[in-house]
Symmetry: D2
Subunit: 264 residues, 4 copies
Amino acid sequence: MVRLHRRGDRHDLRDLTVAIRFEGEYTESYADGDNRDVLPTDTMKNTVYAVAGRDGVGEPEAFGLVLSDHFLERNARLERVTVDMTDHFWRRIAVGAHEHGQAFVRAGPDARTARVVRARGFVAIDAGISDLLILKSGRSAFEGYARDQFTTLPEARDRILATSVTATWRYRTADVDYGTTWRAIRQTLLETFAEHDSRSVQHTLYDMGEAVVQNLDVVESIHLVMPNKHHLPVDLSVFGLENRNEVFVPTEEPHGLIEATIAR
Amino acid sequence: MVRLHRRGDRHDLRDLTVAIRFEGEYTESYADGDNRDVLPTDTMKNTVYAVAGRDGVGEPEAFGLVLSDHFLERNARLERVTVDMTDHFWRRIAVGAHEHGQAFVRAGPDARTARVVRARGFVAIDAGISDLLILKSGRSAFEGYARDQFTTLPEARDRILATSVTATWRYRTADVDYGTTWRAIRQTLLETFAEHDSRSVQHTLYDMGEAVVQNLDVVESIHLVMPNKHHLPVDLSVFGLENRNEVFVPTEEPHGLIEATIAR
Amino acid sequence: MVRLHRRGDRHDLRDLTVAIRFEGEYTESYADGDNRDVLPTDTMKNTVYAVAGRDGVGEPEAFGLVLSDHFLERNARLERVTVDMTDHFWRRIAVGAHEHGQAFVRAGPDARTARVVRARGFVAIDAGISDLLILKSGRSAFEGYARDQFTTLPEARDRILATSVTATWRYRTADVDYGTTWRAIRQTLLETFAEHDSRSVQHTLYDMGEAVVQNLDVVESIHLVMPNKHHLPVDLSVFGLENRNEVFVPTEEPHGLIEATIAR
Amino acid sequence: MVRLHRRGDRHDLRDLTVAIRFEGEYTESYADGDNRDVLPTDTMKNTVYAVAGRDGVGEPEAFGLVLSDHFLERNARLERVTVDMTDHFWRRIAVGAHEHGQAFVRAGPDARTARVVRARGFVAIDAGISDLLILKSGRSAFEGYARDQFTTLPEARDRILATSVTATWRYRTADVDYGTTWRAIRQTLLETFAEHDSRSVQHTLYDMGEAVVQNLDVVESIHLVMPNKHHLPVDLSVFGLENRNEVFVPTEEPHGLIEATIAR
């Protein structure tokens, strides 16, 4: 869904993908084909458009709180509703020294995510980031690991470390400035990654997660998933050239996928 | 990995994608960058190749049992290892009346999956199917559902029901003829889908799962995920043509995703 | 588009993706924004549905001939119209010994393609196949190639040859039994691939194309694109195991893409 | 390939995907399986790494000129070689007020492309941009188009215009500051898109291409491909809400794809 907010010549734009998940006591629907308490996915979709039109769409977390409340109140068999959102970034196009009010260029590839889980008497608010591709070409090693009869990997004192971060964190409260906090967490993840003396993907992942929990009081815990996007150095010496560890082949598969949750 | 078994002029082929997941007490690796007990993903990969070369690859479930045992025995900090496998189908090419011994054509799009989860004193064996695309053009309705102020969906007495099944079932025992059972379950899913008088995706999903649990004693439970791949009928009357519910537009998004677990 | 043909209890199904390309003298539309002679893509889409509803959809080639004629007759500025079609296969689900009349399972991954190009006083009919994945594990070598200072590839006397064939052929006439001919060409491609003593992808590609042109009089020429989907043998001797050329790693990139046109 | 240039603490990074296409008189290779004049794709790949290591990688166009010359000189049967390159952007991570010398975050989704085509006595240098996603929410209409019996599209005086631009332009000379020119053309495309009073995608496409040819003397011609990424307005009045043309559903298919070449 794209929600446009027209403020005269200056339009604001929210480009949000929304997924809604119902969990509950729907045995009669599944076992007997009794649809009386089944809310069609088509109606869920319409509800998203209608609420967006009626109330506008500000921070995704706030929008998810409204939607989840709407569904839980009106569906008696519903025990838990999850609203997952992905917010795609559009930047205003600069024309000369000015930002254009009605023309946008997509920024990325990373996107902002949010999730609201609501049950009877329970609500959880998560936010996150997906597809944050980062790479460091210095201060990254992988040495001293376990060895067995199948080990062939050479130790690396100076390797490229590249990954695509998927992070999800839980807020301790709903009293959060969601947009500002999201940008602060993104910046904390980037800076910590850049500055870390990495001994492994695990090591850097932990440092990034710990920095978020330490720097941002509103964060209860953070889950990080970081695939190891291997960059294999090419041995140029076989071509009679000096080898200065400067040419790399990115490989997709097989790769390692590292993940952990760091809690307060 | 492709594992070739050469039996004279007749080769057997196994095309298996393997993913291995370690869970355990690795705090020192994450927090301190101490790699001493970290088995590199590169070594895991080599282990898959070496075990496949040494022992051959028969049924994926059996291969997963060997691999998971190998890793759990040799890695003291490892608490739980999960081996996920996808088995891609290749059929022998027919030349005249004969099947060729060394030439294959890919069949699909569905694939066979298997998962072995092993912990200290625990093992679970799951099998499954992914990307099984099925469609029925008769005996499928969706009526009598809940209505609210945002409902616009017209009731359908005769609609196309299309989905891409992802099924995963758990075996009650390791004493299973995995290949034969897998084919029997696939056939049960297909036949039940074909014969069902469907009142909703949920209704058909339940019937399919129930048939598997009832027909196959070795199955403990089955989890089914079935997205509703909507096929919207085109109203030809606006073009001055008779409308016989015969032209449909498949739409990707937005769509519903239905899932449930049916246990014995 | 899915076109259903209801013949009592037995439905026939055509699942066709259609792309239409207009080329012509549209300077005023581009340069001046004059839309008077612009047929919206929305109307093209509607036309596909309406013609499919009115006339039914039989062989894609025949459907493309009707569509292209429709557009060329009604749009004066149109100089050339191309109709590209992909026909996705659905097989009837077998229930016991019988085929079900209204339930289908997707077959593939290969699909049938067709293209009709029509201009004033000109028409060309092409057919083809896409995503035909084939693999041979015997009678495939790659030796005696050019060498220079950057050559590191070892010669292979017995390698896996795997590819995903995209074939497009032009018919010499419109008087073709399109469905039967398509199946005969698919079978010729498969059998020739299976039987060939391959010295390279190029060598096998040529033999496959030549067989089609020789066996099928209605074919004027055939264009084949065959990426070399490398399967690298794993050297098990580094693990202390005997190396019998039986374990392979499929690699996606970098790869070679071989193509050629073989004309009568 | 990732090429790192180490300049003390500050590394420069080039992340380049390279595709090389040989065309020539290779009949003996295809028809007879004679590989003597076949340069393996593996050697082409090695050549890219070796040349990158030996000479470094500056502007993609210059790298393509070196590579194409290398191949054409050494392969007698080669008549034409095409080097296609995609340059993926990485921005330095900002740490406080400073840019980090060795840590990068991927920017996009748009990428820079370049193509060098070289034959005996001929060379052409193209550059381009891919995946430039742009959207305008004002000054965009589509009215007054051709109508027939299948027209259902309502006229739009104020619609969202969204597209993913793929542009390729040819330089009139090799005496170009490639990086500066590329950025100037990207900016010209963006500004023209933002400022245009659009009557159709075609109309805006032409204006963008014309601006590039007029503003940049070194450009001979430009080819633009712009799919119409439809954003359908949701009619909120059916939900009892006021309809202010503010809620839109992006749809993937079916869509229109507009393209044209604008030459000097």
